[in-house]
Structures are given as C-alpha cells and as structure tokens.
C-alpha cells in the first residue's frame, strides 16, 4: 500500500498515512500488525510520600513528648513552647511541600512567611518584647512581598528576567533603608547611619542589570564572558 499523496509505502492495514493523514483504502479490512503493543506505561509517581509520612510521624512524636514533659515539669509550656512551635515551623517549611507532587512556590512562599511571622510573634509575646509590630513584622512582610513578587514574575513571565532581577535588587536596597527606619522607630537608634551605603550598592548593581537588559551588546558580552561549554 502506498500513500497517494506522499508516495511512501505504508504498513498493511494502517488507517491513514502517518505523514499527511490521507485515509488509506483498505477494502479487505486487513488488520495492522502493530510495531508496538498497546500497553501504556504506568505513570511513575515521583512524590516524596514515604519521606513526608516519616517526618510527619517524627514531628507528631516530638511535639507530644515535649508537651507532656513540660506540662509535667512546669505545669505550663515554658521553654517547650519555643521547641514545639519551632518543630511546627520546620514542618510547614520543609515537610508540608513533600506531600505535593508539584508544590507551587507562589502558594508556599507566603505560607512560609506567615508561619515565620507567627513564630516570631510568639517569641515576642513570650519575652514581653515590644519589637514585633514595629520591627520584626514589617521586615518579614517586606521580605515576603519581595520574594513572592520575584517568584511569581519568574514563574509566569517568560521574558525580561534581567529587569525582574534588577528591580528586585533595587527593591532590596530600599528595603535596607526601611529596615533602618524600623530600627530607629523601635530601638531609638540614629537614622541613616548605614542604610544609605547598602542602598547605593544595591541600586548600582540593580541598575547595571537593567541596563544589561536594555543594552543588547552588554547582554551579549556578559553572555559570552560567562559562557561555559555545554
């Protein structure tokens, strides 16, 4: 049998030409002798299920033991609280993603920051600190916003990686100024003692990346200079 359009010889019994899709006339209804069987492979499930189960088990045991021990010794959580919430924080950051086949960082990053904020908040409350709302929380929030933005852009925007990187670096520079501001507000230190230096370093580096994005020859040059043979 030949394909009338392509002129190639075809397997007996094939329904249509594999190249152009032209139906093949098969009056005798010859069955095709398959080059390959029909059996599809089982989808290999690449999860970390066993690891996730093991660590969940270990975490539950640790938390329970800590709780029982502290309650017996002190009648309250005492230092055990740090450990228990520490284990929980570790669990959220490291173990929780293992349960998923493709953990989406756009969802998991904010969750992680939320967990961190809660933990730090707990410590602040335990030690009767006055630094949580004016210092720790804002810093965590700024970092979270930056990380989530970069990760989201990196994941869903195909082009302009250099602009994203440059923008992120400059934002980091701003963030250092804000950190100093919160430091001043909370601990009464002098403003603008160090952050302007860090800001200018970040700013120059960020602008360099953006320029590399705009100015093609520089991009090509960087590509060439930092190229490693495949």
């Amino acid at each position: 049998m030949y394909c009338v359009k392509c002129g190639v010889k075809l397997q007996d019994g094939i329904e249509s030409c594999p190249l152009c899709g032209t139906p093949v006339w098969n009056p005798d209804g010859v069955a095709i002798e398959g080059k390959y069987p029909d059996k599809m492979p089982k989808k290999p499930v690449e999860t970390n299920m066993p690891l996730a189960i093991l660590f969940t088990f270990l975490s539950v045991i640790t938390v329970t033991v800590l709780f029982v021990v502290c309650m017996n010794l002190y009648g309250n959580l005492s230092w055990g609280g740090y450990a228990i919430f520490g284990v929980m924080l570790f669990y959220v950051m490291m173990i929780l993603p293992l349960w998923f086949r493709k953990p989406n960082p756009v969802i998991f990053t904010p969750v992680n920051f939320l967990a961190i904020a809660l933990y730090v908040g707990y410590i602040n409350w335990k030690v009767n600190g006055h630094w949580f709302f004016t210092f720790a929380l804002p810093i965590i929030l700024i970092t979270a916003v930056e990380m989530v933005t970069v990760i989201t852009l990196g994941r869903y925007v195909r082009r302009g990686r250099l602009y994203i990187a440059g923008g992120a670096v400059i934002f980091m520079g701003f963030a250092t100024v804000l950190v100093e501001l919160f430091q001043t507000m909370t601990f009464g230190t002098q403003m603008f003692t160090w952050s302007l230096y860090s800001f200018s370093v970040f700013f120059i580096f960020g602008m360099f990346l953006i320029v590399a994005g705009i100015y093609k020859p520089l991009k090509v040059y960087l590509n060439k200079k930092f190229f490693i043979h495949k």
Binding site: C3, C6, G7, V8, K9, L10, Q11, I14, E15, C17, P18, L19, C20, G21, I32, G34, K35, Y36, P37, D38, K39, M40, P41, K43, P44, E46, K102, N223, K224, F227, I228, H229, K230
Partner: protein, 423 residues
C-alpha cells in the same frame, strides 16, 4: 563484597544535572530478529554479559562532589515493550538501574541512560547481546570481533577509560553561535507519549544518491533535514525575523582518535544555514553542509571541543563545589546554551557490522534517540546490511517535519517505507 563503581565520563557528567521530572536523556537501540524473541533466553543472555560490560549494569548515585555510577544491586529488567519507546526513566529508576531491556515479538530493545555510554558503545553492547542470544537460542558459533565481544573474556582497561582526557589539546574552542529557529507544535494529550515514524530505505540507493551530490549519507540527510525545516519557519515567521536553521550532528570521536572505550566518546557539532541570506537549492545545501562538516569535524577542532569539556573539570575550584551547586550551574548553563543553537539532532550510527553467524538471524537494527528537553523532534539513523532505518521521534501532534523530510527522499527517487507506533 565490594561493588564496582565508575566516575562519570566527561560527556556523561551533564545528563544527571539536566534531567527533569518528565525528561531524561535516554536512547534505544533495537534489533529485529527473524523469529519471535524468547524472553527467558534473552534474560539469560542479559545476565551472561554482566561481567564483560561492568560499566553498563549500573545505577546513578550521588557523591558529595560528583555523581557516579555504581554496579546495580538489582538485575536488569527484561520487560514486554510499551506502546512507545523511551518511556520516562524516573529518577528513582535511574538510581536502581540505568539500563533496561524490552522485547516485543521479534524485537529486542535496550534503553540506555546517556551517562552510561554513547551510541557506538551501546551498539557494541546490543550486538554482543544479540550474538549471545543467538548462541544460546540457535547454538551458533560466534566469531567474536571488536564489535561483538566475547562474554567469557575479562573487560579491558581501555574500554573503561574516559578518552576525553587522553585527547584534549588544552585549548578550548570559543563559540559564537546565533540562536537557531525553534521547532514547536501542539503537545499531545497523552503525557509523555512519543510518536515514532520510521522510514526504511535501501542503503545502497541512499548511498548512491548521496554520492550524486558528492557527500556522505549523514551530510545528505542533514541537508534534506535543513531543507525540510526552512519552509516550516517560512510559513510561520516573517522574513526579517527568521533565524538560522541548524542541525546538531553527533560525532563519534573514535573515528578521529584512537580509542576503543565503551564509555561516552561523542560530541555534537552544529551545521546549518541562515535563511536571511537567501534561498538554497539542494546542491547548495549539500555543498554547504559538507564543507561545514569538513571544517568542524577535523581532529584539531574536535580536540579543542574536547578541551572545552575537559577544562572545567580540571579546575580545582569547580571540582570542589558541592554537587547540588554543580548541578544547578550545569542545569542553568544547559538551559541557556545547551539547546539554543540548533533545531534538531541527527545521530547516525552508520553501518553496523555484524558477523555472518549473527546477521542471518537479524532483520534490522534501529537507533532511536528521544526528544530533547526543548526540541520536539529528533532524528537517528542506523544501517544493517542494506537496510537503513531513519527514525524520527516527536512529542507533538504535527507530522509536518516528518512529511516534508520523507517525501523529499521519495521525490529524489529513493523509495521509503513508513512505519509508526501511532494508531
């Protein structure tokens, strides 16, 4: 008992770093016999070769600084074939055994994770396996050669060497290549399915036709492949934005340097044209491809290409970087440079010599490479006797490239039989 282990060879280093959840560099060599395969005997034959080919029966393991291959603790699986070749080899599987064997009707197929060996090494293994199978099944007396190894002999040191280190000239090539056109298409519904289109041609007719154009079969098929891709780009991209059409050709370095290694000793060179410069006739294409190949595939130029691969390993700073960092860097470099400069790979195993006692039981031999991480199409060729099998694989729906390529052979007067695994 102490298990054997092997450092990855220079070419093999990259593959563990660049694999993905759904992609890994695996390829297949299969032989089709004249009779149905007996799986029991095949299993015995596979077992019998283990001592002779220690670097093949391995699993991929992680060290602190580098990945390495370690003697597999499980037997190589011998399984009934699936609906398509090169089903995904998961990370878990490579950690158990990076080699697998399939059978279906008259066909024996072996799939190799590329860190084990290259096409040439793999073809020696498959030929030796076929010989052992034929010996067990039909009681044939085998004439062992350099390509069909005697399983009762001991492995030689030169078979296990990393030949890259022996033949580097220490002077790395500078590369300055343009980004090539990217083939693409509609992804298939069945995740991971690969459509194989095999064009079977008479090798004598093909060779004669190539000779008419004053070139080798590889150069001839490369020129035809370029000619098939040009109009695909034309239909889609306006003239000003058209990019070079380039084929990456696998070069068996054993042909240029004295080496009989069974590890990887292969590199790729890119050959192509820039459609912005004008239109090309087939004569002009074959001429251009032939001269580019002559220029690039010289012993000196390849020694420099080898150097670019060897030098980073000799750098102490690079060597001392922890493995995850190396993996990350290699992956990033591969993502930005590894597949940017060509549209498709062509890998021609050439004429595969088999001793008479084995060849009479063999109908054909096929070489099938998988799709690349970003190329949806790839092409691999092997010849046994006077049958050449041109295998084109794809992960997309469209068969446009295959149609253009194979019909161009027909138009030149080379009869082609087409087979496929798609129903």
């Amino acid at each position: 008992m102490n298990t054997k282990w092997f450092k990855l060879d220079t070419a093999g280093l990259i593959f563990p770093a660049i694999k993905r959840n759904n992609w890994i560099n695996v390829y297949r060599i299969s032989v089709t016999l004249t009779e149905d395969v007996d799986p029991e005997i095949l299993m015995t034959a596979v077992g019998n070769l283990k001592k002779r080919f220690p670097s093949f029966y391995v699993a991929l393991r992680h060290g602190f600084f580098w990945n390495y291959l370690e003697e597999a603790r499980v037997d190589v699986e011998v399984k009934e074939d699936y609906a398509y070749p090169l089903t995904h080899m998961s990370s878990k599987e490579v950690k158990r055994c990076a080699l697998r064997v399939f059978y279906h009707q008259k066909r024996i197929a072996v799939e190799f994770f590329h860190s084990i060996t290259d096409g040439e090494g793999a073809s020696i293994y498959v030929r030796s396996l076929t010989a052992e199978y034929v010996r067990l099944k039909y009681g044939e007396e085998i004439e062992y050669t350099a390509y069909v190894l005697n399983p009762s002999e001991r492995p030689k040191n030169y078979e296990l060497e990393d030949s890259f280190f022996k033949h580097t000239n220490g002077y790395a090539n500078k590369r300055n290549e343009k980004v090539a056109y990217r083939l693409h298409g509609t992804p298939l519904k069945e995740d991971g399915f690969l459509t194989l289109t095999t064009g079977v041609v008479d090798s004598d007719i093909l060779r004669k036709k190539a000779k008419e154009y004053d070139c080798t079969v590889t150069a001839f098929l490369t020129a035809l492949m370029i000619r098939a891709i040009i109009p695909i780009q034309e239909e889609e991209v306006p003239k000003k934005r058209r990019r070079p059409v380039v084929v990456s050709i696998a070069i068996n370095l054993r042909k240029l340097f004295p080496s009989r290694t069974l590890r990887n000793f292969v590199l790729a060179e890119n050959v192509g044209i820039d459609p912005k410069k004008g239109e090309y006739t087939l004569e002009e294409l074959t001429k251009s491809v032939t001269s580019q190949m002559a220029l690039k595939i010289s012993r000196q130029n390849m020694a420099s290409a080898i150097a670019s691969n060897v030098l980073p390993q000799q750098n102490l700073l690079v060597s001392l970087a922890p493995l995850p960092l190396k993996n990350l860097v290699m992956d990033m470099v591969y993502a930005s440079h590894g597949e940017k400069h060509a549209c498709i790979n062509i890998s021609n195993l050439g004429k595969v010599e088999i001793p008479e006692s084995v060849e009479k039981h063999v109908e054909r031999m096929e070489f099938i490479i998988g799709v690349q991480r970003t190329y949806p199409n790839n092409c691999s060729i092997a010849t046994v006797g006077n049958t050449t099998c041109i295998n084109m694989i794809r992960s997309i729906k469209e068969s446009e490239l295959e149609r253009r390529f194979f019909t161009s052979l027909v138009e030149l007067g080379i009869p082609v039989s087409i087979e496929t695994n798609r129903r």
